[in-house]
């Protein structure tokens, strides 16, 4: 009885809903679904963008695994990710905790902590190249004052990646703000009850702050991971005179992909790299989501 008159209404709603989201739906098909499957297809072909793709089976993939620079770029990217991810999480969380204290002038500190992250990325690269210049930069000058011989930073094979990590840590303002909002939404009475029970600062942090923040941590880690897998701009700008240098220490995965595609027009080969990147990041994301049920705490679930 009740179903009858409702049906046209449900249909109308579905039609309206689809109409409203249709811009995205068209965009999704044209700018995401199509290129996604085309990437897979190209990866099995020889293709330079002009002549039509020629099927070569798994040749691109076998070539990939015999390409030392592919391995290097993958290693560099994983190296960056493995250090940047925990360090930036700790830094962002640490800064948020500092700002969450009840002190005067909190707003001013928050502004100072946040501003580096809104500096245009290319401008931050220029600043870091300058202050970390091994010969004329202020950082090595200051180190010199305390009798430390500063390293070559971006111009040293050993230090180029750590320098990029430092640059990344300077710009953690965004996750910091998200953590701060998360911290401020934790009910104060949780801490009060714990304090009455005699829980110390570390205990409260470990057993209240971390669990209550865990959904936000997951969110930030995901964003950070996506950014790490696509790490490009900073390395490209800073090592602009010698891309990937010094040596091959700053060849990052998508930089190599970019070069193969747009410098050498090896579109089949670079598509294989692109699809491989998708597979790796999909695996990592699945593992992350699987593990999240063990460490992410959603208050609504009790």
């Amino acid at each position: 009885m009740r179903k009858g008159p409702n049906r046209p209404r449900i249909q109308r709603r579905t039609r309206n809903g689809l109409l409203f989201v249709s811009p995205w739906l068209i965009g999704f098909l044209a700018f995401f679904a199509y290129p996604f499957f085309a990437t897979i297809y190209y990866s099995f072909t020889n293709f330079n963008g002009v002549q039509s793709p020629k099927w070569v089976g798994f040749a691109n993939y076998t070539a990939l695994f015999h390409d030392p620079l592919f391995g290097t770029s993958l290693f560099n990217t994983l190296f960056y990710t493995v250090f940047e991810l925990p360090l930036s999480t700790a830094a962002a969380l640490g800064l948020a905790l500092l700002l969450n204290q009840n002190v005067r002038g909190r707003g001013i500190y928050r502004t100072i902590f946040y501003i580096p992250s809104i500096v245009p990325l290319v401008a931050s690269c220029l600043i870091f190249v300058w202050i970390f210049n091994p010969a004329t930069g202020i950082v090595n000058d200051l180190l010199n004052d305390v009798h430390i011989q500063g390293p070559g930073w971006f111009f040293s094979i050993a230090w180029s990646k750590p320098s990029l990590i430092l640059l990344g840590l300077w710009g953690v303002g965004q996750p910091m703000v998200i953590y701060l909002a998360g911290l401020q939404s934790i009910p104060a009475q949780l801490y009060e009850v714990a304090a009455l029970d005699g829980a110390g600062a570390w205990h409260r942090f470990r057993h209240i702050t971390i669990p209550m923040l865990s959904p936000v941590i997951l969110f930030n880690v995901i964003l950070q991971l996506v950014a790490c897998f696509s790490y490009f701009t900073q390395a490209q700008v800073i090592e602009g005179g010698d891309i990937g240098g010094p040596g091959t220490s700053t060849w990052f995965y998508v930089q190599y992909l970019y070069e193969q595609a747009f410098q050498f027009l090896k579109l089949g080969y670079s598509s294989a790299m692109a699809f491989f990147l998708f597979v790796i990041s999909a695996i990592v994301m699945v593992l992350l989501f699987r593990s999240s049920s063990r460490w992410v705490y959603y208050a609504s679930e009790g």
Binding site: L18, W24, P35, T39, I118, V119, G182
Partner: protein, 286 residues
């Protein structure tokens, strides 16, 4: 009694001084690169390279700014960037608000599934779909100018904006839509006449973030813009770094000129900035 209180306040004062000491130290470390940029931009090259370092420029070489600006057609870069930002802002405001409305104010089958699909595309690396896109734009003869970066924004490519607007639309009471519906308004009228006028703060956030995005975007223009005439500020900066590597005051003046508008904008719209970022992390995950 009074001694006890005294001791407690003294203890409090000490703790507060300790907190400030830490906060100030961190502020100095984080603020130093920007300070040094600004100082260097006002020095002579000789002073910039001096050992031991000269802290305060003497004299202040304000002419570094007009000099670097005329050396690299910087105003042109700014103009290109503003054009890029303005067009994509129009695209994002139109398409993201429509899509966000469909994902929040109408209940329909498949809605939540499609929303999840949309959000999950954020997890896919940009480069996983780049190559066929480039081939496609090349075939349509769109490479060389901003069209490949503008067109998608009219088709809901800014998922961040859609997400933000959806979160906002969901906070608006259902009763405002129902009242309009009783008056015979259709969905589109409700969208344009009721929901959009109530959403000015959310739209302001979207506009602000889209502007900052365009101002900072390096990768998009790098891929699609090959003629220096059309360079945005970000590519212009790398041009300056490549051309005037030995003239650090100019390079820092350029970095400063690119940073200043964003920082000024931040001071005027601090609340919008912070709220826009915080909403991402604390909004529900669909």
């Amino acid at each position: 009694m009074s001694v006890a209180i005294n001791r407690r306040t003294r203890h409090k004062l000490g703790a507060s001084a300790g907190k400030h000491a830490v906060l100030i130290l961190v502020s100095v470390v984080l603020g130093f690169p920007l300070l040094w940029m600004a100082l260097t931009s006002l020095k002579t090259n000789h002073q910039a390279l001096a050992v031991p370092p000269v802290w305060i420029p003497h004299p202040f070489v304000w002419s570094n700014y007009p000099d670097f600006i005329s050396a690299v057609t910087f105003p042109r870069f700014v103009l290109n960037t503003l054009m890029y930002a303005a067009t994509t802002i129009v695209g994002v405001c139109i398409s993201s608000s429509l899509v966000a409305y469909g994902f929040s104010r109408i209940r329909w089958r498949g809605r939540d599934f499609l929303f999840k699909v949309m959000v999950s595309t954020l997890l896919i690396p940009f480069f996983a779909t780049l190559i066929p896109l480039f081939v496609m734009y090349k075939r349509f003869d769109m490479v060389g100018w901003y069209l490949p970066l503008i067109v998608p924004t009219f088709l809901g490519s800014s998922i961040f904006s859609t997400f933000l607007l959806r979160q906002f639309f969901m906070t608006l009471p259902q009763s405002v839509s129902d009242a309009a519906r009783v008056d015979g308004a259709n969905e589109f009228t409700i969208f344009t006449r009721v929901i959009l006028p109530m959403s000015k703060p959310a739209l302001a956030t979207v506009i602000l973030f889209q502007f900052v995005y365009c101002w900072n975007d390096y990768l998009g223009p790098l891929i699609y813009i090959d003629n220096q005439v059309w360079y945005p500020v970000s590519l212009g900066l790398t041009l300056i770094l490549g051309t005037y590597t030995t003239n650090w005051p100019w390079v820092m003046a350029a970095a400063c000129a690119a940073t200043l508008p964003i920082v000024v904008l931040f001071f005027f719209a601090q609340r919008t900035f912070i709220a826009g970022i915080a909403i991402q992390g604390t909004g529900d995950k669909g």
